[in-house]
């Protein structure tokens, strides 16, 4: 009787140990000879970096970026990409992955991305490399995104992005626009194109707009460079720009 009890207890302990190990082990998103992508937990205290941003021109934004899409975010997770580059050097990068339930494709000239209702998007900022003013990606929020399609990259992709995402958010500091209260929060890049009267300064916006901006660290300095644009107006303006540059929904 006693032997049976010890044996059963041993079995339970082994099962618990295996379950604990499996739960504690990082979830693998993708693995190959040279690339290993695993989920990691977000840092409680964000690490902020300071960036020199690359300039944008309308030709690139409306003429070269294949996917412009609106939708709602779900299943955000931070991942660590460990990889070996073509020169044999080991690197580690961190990015955010999330699913976007698509509301509308404002433009899609990609040959490999069909108009899927849900797409996986890669976003370069995480709790480990955030920056003042970048949109904060969280489940349930709505965004307008300008995206590249890694499957169609013409250069070598040592991180194998195409294996675990459909789209890569392009220049998100300027081109990822959060929708709240029926308006988009935009940078001067869009405000300049829309003209006076159509983009209003963020400090004149609603409490919800200010609450969103307050998440992006220095509330005051961000307010002064941000604008709010009525959502429908913004989407129409982007479609018109895309058409004028010869692209559009394929």
């Amino acid at each position: 009787m006693r032997k049976k009890f010890v044996f059963a207890a041993g079995i339970v302990l082994v099962v618990l140990a295996i379950a604990g190990y499996l739960l504690a082990a990082p979830r693998v998103v993708y693995r190959s000879d040279k690339v290993c992508v695993t989920e990691v937990s977000k840092l409680k205290d964000k690490v902020f970096s300071s960036y020199e941003w690359a300039p944008l021109d309308e030709g690139t934004v409306y003429g070269s970026i294949p996917v412009i899409v609106t939708g709602k975010v779900k299943n955000t997770r931070e991942v660590k990409i460990e990889f070996t580059d073509p020169a044999g050097q080991a690197y580690t990068e961190h990015i955010t992955l999330f699913e976007l339930t698509v509301s509308e494709y404002l433009s899609n000239t990609s040959v490999s991305l069909s108009k899927d209702p849900v797409i996986t998007v890669g976003y370069p900022f995480t709790s480990r490399n955030s920056a003042e003013g970048v949109p904060v990606i969280e489940n349930g929020k709505e965004f307008l995104l300008f995206c590249m399609v890694p499957a169609e990259y013409t250069y070598e992709d040592p991180l194998c992005l195409a294996q675990y995402m459909d789209c890569w958010a392009y220049s998100p500091y300027y081109l990822t626009l959060e929708k709240t209260d029926g308006v988009y929060i935009a940078d001067s890049f869009f405000a300049d194109q829309l003209g006076q009267g159509q983009a209003i300064e963020a400090q004149d916006g609603s409490a919800a707009v200010k609450a969103v901006l307050s998440q992006r660290t220095e509330y005051g300095s961000i307010l002064s460079g941000s604008y709010v644009v009525e959502a429908e107006l913004m989407e129409q303006a982007i479609k018109q720009r895309v058409e004028s540059f010869g692209q559009g929904v394929s």
Binding site: E52, E93, P124, L159, Y173
Partner: protein, 262 residues
């Protein structure tokens, strides 16, 4: 007898030295209490700063060194004698590394700092996808910009300054950038003898340093006001020691009924 007298003198000297040091610290303006604006022409990232001219760096691997060292050295040199940032083989405070991600930026800096705000370690990341699309002049300026962040400087909107937020082949290290850098390195400090200028902004005084042009905000208290002719007069008693008279054109809708000038 002689020993006890020397001991007594030693104690007095020690107490006087301590009082002097405390008064010096109390009168000095810490970076955290300073603000900058368009007049300053530079800005601080936050309260972190190098606290000296000297820092060291190494590369995360030899391939990155061979690819980028030219631009790194030239970028550091753009700051001239205002900083000393040198490459070492081991024990470096800073690391220069590269990333394959295209995040819409050419480079970035992250850093850690101690309780006094002094930078203890830093990482400069070069985003090769966009960095490599720049000209050699632009790449050098990108590194100079990031070195500004390493020392604690923040972004500005003036496109002629090296700390302008966006890549540019024409931005350069200006007098405004150097004013900020001198404060970040403690080459310029504030003390009770620093020369300041006072500015008005409503009931706020801006106590602006004549050298670095950063300012402290000082709230004034109105002590009296009166009408005279077409003007409304306010006398402010500022905690900085100044009694200042200010007059504004009288507006009957906002001016309370006041007695005439005493």
């Amino acid at each position: 007898m002689l020993y006890s007298r020397v001991k007594w003198i030693y104690r007095v000297v020690l107490v006087v030295t301590c009082i002097f040091c405390f008064s010096l610290i109390a009168s000095a303006t810490s970076i955290s209490s300073l603000c900058t604006d368009e007049t300053s022409g530079w800005s601080k990232w936050d309260d972190r700063h190098m606290g000296g001219k000297y820092t060291t760096y190494s590369y995360s691997n030899s391939i990155i060194e061979s690819e980028f060292s030219n631009y790194v050295e030239q970028g550091i040199n753009m700051w001239g004698n205002s900083i000393s940032c040198t490459q070492v083989d081991s024990g470096a405070e800073g690391t220069i590394c590269a990333s394959y991600l295209n995040i819409g930026a050419t480079a970035s800096v992250s850093s850690t700092f101690d309780s006094s705000g002094h930078v203890t370690s830093w990482t400069l990341t070069i985003y090769s996808a966009l960095f490599n699309t720049g000209t050699s002049e632009g790449k050098t300026r990108t590194i100079a910009h990031e070195i500004g962040h390493v020392y604690g400087l923040g972004h500005v909107d003036d496109s002629s300054n090296i700390m302008y937020h966006t890549y540019s082949v024409t931005k350069s290290v200006t007098a405004a950038d150097l004013r900020g850098m001198n404060l970040m390195t403690h080459s310029h400090n504030h003390s009770s003898t620093t020369s300041y200028n006072l500015e008005w902004l409503g009931t706020i005084h801006k106590k602006r340093c004549d050298t670095c042009l950063a300012y402290e905000e000082i709230q004034c208290t109105e002590t009296s006001n009166w009408h005279s002719g077409q003007y409304h007069y306010f006398q402010y008693n500022c905690i900085c020691g100044n009694y200042t008279l200010r007059k504004i054109p009288c507006n009957p809708t906002i001016c309370p009924t006041q007695s005439v000038k005493p």
